[in-house]
Assembly symmetry: C2
């Protein structure tokens, strides 16, 4: 597949349909296709050649979308950078990918001194850019539509950086076919079409959110952008633009459903909410299903290295029916086209129901880590991507993700899966967010420790939470200590950063796991 | 994508679900996966190496399915041969593809003398084979499961022969990714899942029918086989096996709906009928929609070179609502991922609404014609498959297929599209089937000639049919001559063979078109 062909198709079939919406700008597919072809010609003239990495550092917008497709059109490799990174980290990423051309949004003009050390050609996405910078709009205005480089199939389309929070960031190389396969999986399992009006709620440099740039263009659906997530902005956009579909991570879902505007505003156009990126509390999901009875829900599980999804919990499985309700705790079943194994430390399959590492083969498996052949060979050994997640199948083929291999606590020789304990803690009415980590313990190696962010109006005590856990968990899983904080450290994808929480406890110690 | 991975996935997720049903044999996915791995090992031992063509000449059965996947498992290229071909034609096809190993069904034992001249290794699919032949079951019994060759992506998966009725047959080379893309398109547009119980009604060597071997295995749906199409066998199978889905060509649909058993038997399990392969009369489609109100209908248009589909008329567009009913005459919209252009003789796009050749780009476009590089370059010039069909878009992006380029009649300088005239004739109550062809004419070059197969109880006269046409068509389109026959010559895919009808009229003449 040639991803830019989806733009050609959209402009041919639906020239007057709305393609992109951002603030006061609305453009149809005819306009967007022409703008991409002009911007692509501009990139070529700036020296971008086939296979060159071109970076993007910006919050979400219609122009971010145009930059993405113009890079592909010019034959480049789209390389989005984290909007959560520091200038120094951005410098490291540019050094790693070797991009000489970068699109920069207005919120990152302060990074220019660091950026220009690596990427001499800076294109300002927004109007109020410092003098002397190239301008996105000017490139479009001053260039005639170019010729599509027609990269496709196994050709690299994108490099997404991942893992920066737990070590040096790695560039995940994804081909045109990887992103096409992910899109087709999503369409087959979630069932949506060109009538979709999609709200990009999450950060586009993160593939869980960014993959819909491709899926919805394949459909010729409408892209609506807000610069960044806030519950107010999402609720406002749904009502204003009559949004039919969006993707969220569980923390966003919690913020939405508990927002005072949630019940007041018109969310009736919503047809499908997809979610993933981190485990969801069954109670939160049940609450959403009850409060939004007209909405279909779909979960995907995976990682950037899987383009990014390898399992789907379909709308038909989002039911509170007691016979199948337990499936809400699963990540769904392996995607059509993907084989998923649960293996022991020697890559041997374990029996159904037993725990092991989740490893994945299929058309969404990455091409490798950029410039890291050994790390690639290790991750892809035996033709399966080793996720580093622990999971188990049930007898119906549903996959339960139990923990990150590196978050698992080994205490007194027992493997303890933190997600189970967190799920228990989240059911306590005073707990807003929680994270369970292993902390050093002289006798047991590690001890179970719980970090709690209480609800705004609550002040829970450790003894009460311990009693709550003791009522629901085996005693060796009950946290031995509790810690209360005002705000969880969150990753760019709004996942709780357990690595941050662990740091303080582990200074001077070395963990066995992860 | 590695097509055999779909079998691994099916066996892992749904080991006890029914995989294949044929006559008195029913097997689950665990059994089928093991049998394929054993048969694949047998093929390897027989000398099949990576990239070798392995032929199959047989009517539909569970063992046809096993042979298909065992060939892929062993690293071979699945090469099904037409069950309509003569022994001499089979010899030509074997010569062309160079297969040294062939699976042969019991109805083709008479072909063995010719077959063995080319393919010395013959595997009998059925029990009652002549002495000395290798046996499908024996190969499975005597081999342990082998190691999958894991061919994938652009690797060739299959060669399907096409065009034998209009010249020398050409082998269409399709990759694993071609067949994967076709499957994912079908799932996205028609929406079905692993609960599907699919009846293979058509001949599996023809990709319009055979492609579902791959799609339904990707889903882990149930395959039900009947050896060959008859309306009785299809109706019987639907009732007996509680079929939810099947694919038909329009002539089959007509035979079904007019069969005396159609209204008597229980067809209530049917959820989806897909059709294609030749134009359908709007009246027939409307009749089916009315008589099967619980069934969703889906049309696909394409050709073997497109794996085989490039447009889809979705179930939502199969409505008798007057505002959109005209869409029933279209082939639907371009598949997700496919760009379709309508071009003039110089490959320039024509405006929306105007007629031209249909050309197609996308992930389903074939790798080329086997050993025919010049024919390949010609067909794929500019990166688009040139279908040889004439079509036009409407303003909503629906594609209307007007004629085969080579069936179009050029009379007195006018281009006349035969499908329009046939559609008119089919509305006459005395007409069962019809075909309009061009016949030589001294003054106009060609004249419009209609071949009619009357309904069983009717004896229409030429004058009445002419008057019928004159009432609905411009005068230059009205057939100048009529011919009545008892049985239309049909291709293996149940398409009317216009080339056969033309032959008699064109002896000693040369046609300008096609």
């Amino acid at each position: 597949m040639q991803l830019t062909l989806s733009l050609t198709r959209a402009a041919r079939l639906f020239p007057d349909h709305t393609a992109t919406v951002f603030e006061d700008r609305t453009r149809n597919w005819r306009e967007v296709e022409a703008r991409v072809a002009r911007l692509g010609a501009g990139l070529r003239e700036l020296g971008v050649q086939t296979g060159d990495r071109v970076a993007v550092l910006a919050h979400s917008s219609d122009r971010f979308f145009e930059a993405t497709f113009a890079i592909l059109f010019a034959g480049g490799i789209f390389t989005p950078l984290s909007t959560r990174a520091t200038p120094g980290e951005i410098g490291d990423l540019l050094e790693d990918c070797g991009a000489r051309v970068i699109f920069v949004g207005k919120d990152f003009h302060g990074f220019l001194p660091e950026i220009e050390k690596h990427a001499p050609t800076v294109i300002a996405l927004d109007e109020d850019a410092p003098d002397g910078l190239l301008q996105h709009e000017a490139l479009i205005e001053t260039h005639a539509p170019g010729i599509d480089a027609k990269r496709h199939g196994n050709d690299l389309a994108a490099i997404y950086y991942t893992g920066g929070t737990t070590g040096r960031a790695k560039g995940v190389m994804l081909s045109h076919d990887n992103l096409y396969a992910n899109a087709m999986q999503s369409l087959s399992h979630f069932r949506y079409d060109e009538r979709t009006v999609y709200l990009h709620s999450g950060p586009l440099y993160h593939l869980a959110a960014g993959s819909r740039l491709f899926t919805n263009t394949l459909l010729a659906a409408t892209h609506v952008f807000i610069p960044r997530f806030s519950p107010e902005a999402v609720i406002e956009a749904i009502e204003t633009h009559r949004i039919t579909m969006t993707a969220l991570v569980p923390t966003m879902m919690g913020m939405l459903v508990h927002h005072p505007d949630f019940e007041k505003r018109d969310l009736s156009t919503l047809d499908l909410i997809t979610y993933g990126g981190s485990p969801i509390a069954e109670a939160l999901l049940a609450e959403l299903i009850e409060k939004l009875p007209h909405v279909r829900f779909g979960q995907a599980y995976g990682m950037t290295e899987l383009s990014p999804a390898c399992t789907y919990l379909e709308p038909r499985d989002h039911t509170l029916n007691p016979a199948t309700r337990h499936r809400l705790r699963s990540a769904g079943r392996p995607a059509i086209g993907c084989d998923i194994r649960i293996v022991d430390a020697h890559d041997n399959d374990v029996p159904v129901g037993e725990r092991g590492e989740i490893i994945v083969a299929g058309p969404v498996v990455m091409q490798g880590y950029w410039k890291r052949p050994e790390m690639t060979a290790e991750a892809l050994r035996g033709g399966y991507m080793h996720t580093g997640d622990i999971g188990a199948y049930d007898a119906d083929g549903f996959l339960y993700v139990l923990d990150r291999l590196k978050d698992m606590i080994v205490s007194g020789g027992e493997n303890i899966y933190t997600l189970e304990i967190e799920d228990c803690l989240r059911k306590h009415p005073d707990v807003a967010f929680c994270a369970v980590i292993g902390v050093p313990h002289e006798k047991w190696g590690e001890a179970v420790h719980a970090v709690i962010q209480p609800r705004a109006d609550a002040a829970p005590e450790a003894a009460a939470l311990e009693a709550h856990c003791r009522a629901h968990l085996a005693s060796f899983k009950v946290p031995r200590s509790f810690e209360f904080i005002d705000q969880m450290p969150l990753s760019a994808a709004n996942k709780i950063l357990k690595s941050e929480l662990r740091k303080r406890h582990w200074a001077g110690h070395e963990r066995m796991v992860g």
